[in-house]
């Protein structure tokens, strides 16, 4: 009796799965490779999250405007990634016909080294890294600390309570450079300004780049502790800081792109004092255009204050003309090399807030 009902159930299951199979005979097998295809390998987070992944994608979109007819395929990384699985991703993009290929993030370094060597005809760009000696890889390096220095100066000039804060996404050197620049910019204006700092997570936990609740909490704590300007270099975590600033009628500073223009930040845009630009999109678009125009050059390409690769924004007009002039003067000094911005936050000292 038991067996009979079970057998009937099994037969039903088999029949059901057969029926499903019949429905689905037309295939989605790998199609023939189109010719004008850009491949993008994203790091953790992907193109949906604000940050360098999304900016790389925006860079492609900008390229598309001047070069219609190109298509894009992208694949995204995950936490369990090994060098082998990252290399697999790059190989798949190449096999799909992608050339050039944009690789986002330093974690791809080892994988790209091997894949670039095995595919000399494919042109690559890697964001935030460089592969010395590779003839077909362009390293897109950003002096993020310089942009952070400028907003640090703007924060110091705007702070009435003489107290500022920094929120980092994940405690890694990449983000520490943002903090170092910000701190140095503050110290340049007034070395007696009080300073607070927090990171949303420690690696390998990269959730700190996507934790608006933590950003809100940290910023709230800093505001209650006397700060009136907080700078977040933390992806969408910064959104929480903007919200806190809006609620507390204090200032928040955005990162990477002009955050006052983000749709998701629209309710809080009146609290966004300025944003530190790190123009990954410009870097990616120029790489793609260079490849198409046969002007590709391998090795490190530096994006800094001198060539507009990093900077600050004035959307909303919350920075006074006087402050903008002062910050622009600093920008010139950085561009000329008169000011060298540090990348290690420990080298700058400010009183604890």
């Amino acid at each position: 009796m038991q067996k009979k009902t079970l057998g009937r159930a099994l037969a039903g299951a088999v029949a059901a799965s057969l029926a499903l199979s019949v429905v689905s005979l037309n295939g989605t097998a790998a199609s023939a490779a189109p010719k004008k295809l850009v491949g993008i390998a994203f790091d953790l987070g992907g193109k949906e999250q604000p940050g360098f992944n999304q900016l790389a994608y925006i860079g492609f979109k900008a390229f598309l405007k001047t070069h219609p007819g190109w298509a894009e395929k992208d694949l995204q990384g995950n936490a369990a990634d090994t060098d082998a699985s990252r290399a697999q991703r790059l190989k798949l993009l190449i096999a799909a016909g992608a050339n050039p290929v944009v690789v986002v993030g330093y974690s791809y370094e080892n994988a790209l080294k091997a894949v670039a060597k095995a595919n000399p005809k494919v042109k690559f760009a890697i964001v935030d890294d460089n592969i010395a000696g590779a003839k077909n890889v362009e390293g897109l390096l950003f002096k993020a600390e310089q942009g952070s220095y400028l907003v640090g100066a703007a924060a110091a000039l705007s702070s009435k309570s003489k107290s500022v804060g920094f929120i980092g996404g994940v405690n890694i050197p990449l983000i520490q450079a943002f903090e170092a620049g910000f701190k140095a910019g503050v110290a340049k204006i007034d070395p007696t300004i009080k300073y607070q700092s927090a990171y949303a997570s420690n690696p390998p936990d990269f959730s700190g780049f996507n934790a608006p609740d933590k950003g809100h909490e940290s910023a709230l704590g800093m505001f209650q502790n006397g700060a009136d300007v907080v700078y977040s270099a933390a992806g969408s975590t910064g959104q929480g800081a903007h919200k806190a600033a809006f609620e507390q009628k204090k200032w928040s500073i955005g990162v990477d792109a002009d955050e006052a223009l983000y749709a998701s930040n629209a309710p809080y845009k009146t609290a966004i004092l300025t944003s530190a630009l790190k123009n990954v999109d410009v870097g990616v678009a120029s790489f793609l255009s260079d490849v198409v125009a046969n002007k590709f050059t391998p090795d490190a390409h530096l994006f800094d204050a001198a060539n507009g690769g990093v900077g600050f924004t004035t959307t909303g007009g919350y920075l006074s003309a006087d402050i903008v002039a002062k910050v622009k003067a600093l920008q010139k000094q950085i561009a000329s090399g008169a000011i060298v911005v540090p990348t290690d936050p420990k080298t700058v000292t400010l009183p604890q807030g």
């Binding site: 038991q2 079970l6 099994l10 299951a13 088999v14 059901a16 799965s17 499903l20 199979s21 429905v23 689905s24 005979l25 037309n26 295939g27 989605t28 097998a29 790998a30 199609s31 395929k73 694949l75 995204q76 936490a79 369990a80 990634d81 090994t82 060098d83 082998a84 699985s85 697999q88 991703r89 798949l92 993009l93 799909a96 330093y106 974690s107 370094e109 080892n110 935030d128 890294d129 460089n130 010395a132 390293g139 390096l141 405690n171 890694i172 050197p173 990449l174 450079a177 420690n202 690696p203 390998p204 936990d205 490190a300």
Partner: protein, 368 residues
Amino acid sequence: MNKKLSKLFWALIAPIAAILFSLIFVSIILMIKGAAPLSTFQLILSYGAESENIIAELNQTIAYYLAGVAAAIGFRMLLFNIGIDGQYRLAIFIAAVVGGATNLPTFLELPLIILTGVVVGALWASIAGYLKVKRNISEVISNIMLNTIASGLIIYLLQPSRLGLKGKNSDNLATPMIPKSGWMPSIHILGGELYSFAFVAIGVGVLYWVVLNKSVFGFNLRATGMSFRAARASGVNAPRMIFITMALSGAIAGLTGMGELLSSTHTYSLAFPTGYALTGLALALLGRNNPIGIAFAAFFWAFLEQAAPILDLNGIPKEIVMMMQGSIILSTVASYEIVKRITRRQQQRLVGAVDAPQVVTEAKGDKA
């Protein structure tokens, strides 16, 4: 013989039913998303069976398998070792540091690195074991906290001013490279490079089975897992068993990722893979704590994950892979429970048929 066959039938029916259920579930989701189920499964199968991909899957299987065995050791004692992640990362990190700081002949260097991983994993896990035994703190809570502490400890030590190195144009942090004497050769096979650490993983599986099933220690472990009080009453030092089991689970966790370290990266960096704890626990569940079952489960997992990017590339949501994994775990647990109830009822009926008269007399005796 007939009994054996029927036993095998009931043992296999649960996983087969689970996979069937999962395939149907995923097919429905695929059709809702407008993708064709059959060709999607074909794509996963044909891509996963390409020789180079099989090697990549096997390499991934090694790590998953060890995480699975580490979890299974805990499960046998009803311990939920969610600390595998912290244990393995700290173990691999310290092992990489030790390997990078020494340059002994290979026959000493390799065992040194591997043993360092085992010892660090065991020590880190035994903190949770100690807290459980002495302070009655749930190993789940303490292990989650220990995972976070391990992350903090590693990033503190990985700073360039301490044990780590930072490349000139890179934002990655890494331990110094392990010298060539500490590299484990890979096996060239099927156009890929199979980590020879696979043999260590197989050895661990054999050892796990022998110790658990053929030793007094294993008997005590299983007994304590089944009933803490009964084991204690029959003279087993149950708290000690809990402590040792936790440490053993951590020791095996310390081997997770060792193949990657010794045969591929030769350094621990910010780009090292993470998240093995949950995978290990899922695989132990799926493999029914059985060393061969876990091996199949681990390969199956790696096989599915390998296919994720090819799905993505063909416009099929790669999250399908996660759904398949999730539904397989759920339906496995459910179908084993169903099979257990069916077989139990069968046994009861059998026993009832034989012993019925006695039961009746006993019942009468009770009344009297």
